[in-house]
C-alpha cells in the first residue's frame, strides 16, 4: 500500500510541467509552495531522481543514505535561514546529478559510504539552491521547511520505486535513465561554463 502510494505520488510529482526555477510554484507560497519547490527546479529533479535510482538499485544499502540526504538538506536549510546564499549551487546540484547518474548507469555494487557522502552534499546544495521568495520571515521559514520535506519525500518515493526494478527491461531502463541524466548534466555544465 505504501509502495503504491509512493508510486502514485511520484507519478503525480512528475506531472509538474513548467520549471519556473525559484519563484513560488504556481503562485503557492508558504509551506506548500516549499513542498512543491523541488519539483519545479529541473536540476533538483534530476539530482533527486538520480540519487533515488542509485539508492533503490543498491540492494545492500540500508536507509542510511536517505537519512544523510535529509541531514544534508537540514544543514543547508539551516545555513539558508542565516541569510547565506552561495553562488553556483545549481551547478553543484547538476554535478551531483552527473555523478549519481553515472553510478546508476554503471550499475555496480559500491560501499554505502560513497552514497552517504554524495547524498549529504547533494542535499546540502539543493537546500542552498532553494532560496524562498517570501515577504515575511515566518513564511520564508515555512517555505524552507516545505522544501526540505518535499525533497526528502521525492527521494524516498523514487528510491522505493527503483528498488522494485530488479529484473528485465525495468532494470535496464533504470540504467538508461541514469545515462540520460548524466548526459544532460554534462551538456548543461559545459554550457554554464561558457555562458
Amino acid at each position: 500500500m505504501i509502495r503504491r502510494a509512493a508510486a502514485v505520488a511520484l507519478g503525480l510529482a512528475m506531472t509538474a510541467t513548467p520549471a519556473l526555477a525559484h519563484p513560488a510554484p504556481l503562485g503557492i507560497g508558504g509551506f506548500f509552495g516549499g513542498l512543491l519547490h523541488p519539483l519545479f527546479v529541473p536540476a533538483h529533479v534530476l539530482a533527486v531522481l538520480a540519487l533515488g535510482l542509485l539508492i533503490g538499485r543498491q540492494a545492500a544499502w540500508t536507509g542510511l543514505v536517505a537519512i544523510t540526504f535529509i541531514l544534508g538538506l537540514t544543514a543547508g536549510l539551516g545555513v539558508m535561514t542565516l541569510g547565506v546564499v552561495p553562488l553556483l549551487m545549481n551547478e553543484a546540484v547538476l554535478a551531483f546529478a552527473l555523478i549519481a547518474g553515472l553510478l546508476v548507469a554503471h550499475a555496480r555494487s559500491m560501499p554505502e559510504a560513497v552514497g552517504c557522502v554524495l547524498a549529504v552534499l547533494a542535499g546540502f546544495c539543493i537546500a542552498l539552491d532553494s532560496p524562498p521568495e517570501a515577504v515575511t520571515l515566518s513564511e520564508a521559514n515555512r517555505m524552507l521547511l516545505g522544501t526540505g520535506i518535499g525533497a526528502a519525500l521525492l527521494l524516498i518515493a523514487v528510491a522505493a520505486v527503483a528498488a522494485r526494478l530488479t529484473r528485465g527491461w525495468p532494470r535496464i531502463a533504470a540504467r538508461v535513465l541514469g545515462s540520460w541524466i548524466a548526459a544532460s548534466a554534462i551538456l548543461v555544465l559545459a554550457l554554464r561554463l561558457v555562458r
Binding site: 507519478g11 520549471a19 520505486v161 544532460s184 554554464r192
Partner: protein
C-alpha cells in the same frame, strides 16, 4: 514485479521526458521540443542512431544494453567539446562515415568483441555530439534542450533496437540487414553531398 509498480515506472519514464519541457524560456525552439527535434530533423543523425540500435540488437546481450547506455554519455562529452569550442576535425565527414560503417556492420552481421564495438560507437558518438553541441541555438534553455536532445537520441536507439529484435526470425534477419544496407547507402549519399 507488481502491475502498479510497472505502471508507475512507465508513467515515470514518460513524464520524466515530458516534465521540463517549458523550463525557464517557454521557447519551443530553444526548450525541450527544440532539443527533441534536433537529432530527429537531421537524417544523417537519424540513420546512425538507428544503426547503433540495430547493431546492438544484432550483437545481443550485453551489447544491446551497453551501446544505448554508452552512446549518450560519450555523445554528451562530444557535445561539451562543441559547446566549449574545442575543434574536432572532420565532424560532418565523421558523421557520414558513421552511417556507412554502422550500416555495413549490420549488413555483414559483424560481431566483434564488445570493447571494439563500444570504442567504434564511442568514436562516432563524439562526432555526433560535437555537431549537436556546436549547433546549440543561442538563448536555448540549456537543461530542457539537453534533456530533449538526449531523450530523442535514446528513442532513436530504441527504434533501432526494436527493428533489430526482428533478427530473431530468419525473415527478420533479412529485414534488419536490409535496413543496415539502407543506412549505409544513406551514409554514402551524405558523403557524396559533402564532396
Amino acid at each position: 514485479m507488481t502491475r502498479p509498480v510497472t505502471r508507475a515506472f512507465a508513467i515515470l519514464l514518460c513524464l520524466t521526458a515530458a516534465a521540463p519541457a517549458l523550463a525557464h524560456t517557454g521557447d519551443v525552439v530553444g526548450g525541450f521540443v527544440g532539443g527533441l527535434a534536433h537529432p530527429v530533423l537531421g537524417p544523417d543523425h537519424v540513420a546512425a542512431m538507428v544503426a547503433v540500435g540495430l547493431w546492438g540488437a544484432f550483437l545481443g546481450s550485453p551489447a544491446i544494453i551497453l551501446l544505448p547506455i554508452v552512446f549518450p554519455l560519450v555523445m554528451a562529452l562530444g557535445g561539451a567539446l562543441g559547446i566549449l569550442g574545442v575543434p574536432v576535425p572532420g565532424t560532418e565527414i565523421g558523421i557520414a562515415i558513421s552511417a556507412v560503417l554502422l550500416g555495413l556492420v549490420v549488413v555483414l552481421a559483424v560481431k566483434p568483441p564488445l570493447w571494439i564495438a563500444a570504442v567504434l560507437v564511442g568514436v562516432f558518438a563524439i562526432f555526433h555530439g560535437h555537431a549537436h553541441g556546436a549547433e546549440l541555438p543561442p538563448g536555448a534553455d540549456a537543461l530542457a534542450y539537453s534533456l530533449g536532445f538526449v531523450v530523442a537520441t535514446g528513442l532513436l536507439h530504441l527504434a533501432g533496437i526494436a527493428i533489430g529484435l526482428l533478427a530473431r526470425w530468419p525473415a527478420g534477419r533479412i529485414a534488419v540487414r536490409t535496413a543496415g544496407a539502407l543506412v549505409a547507402l544513406s551514409g554514402l549519399f551524405f558523403l557524396a553531398r559533402l564532396a
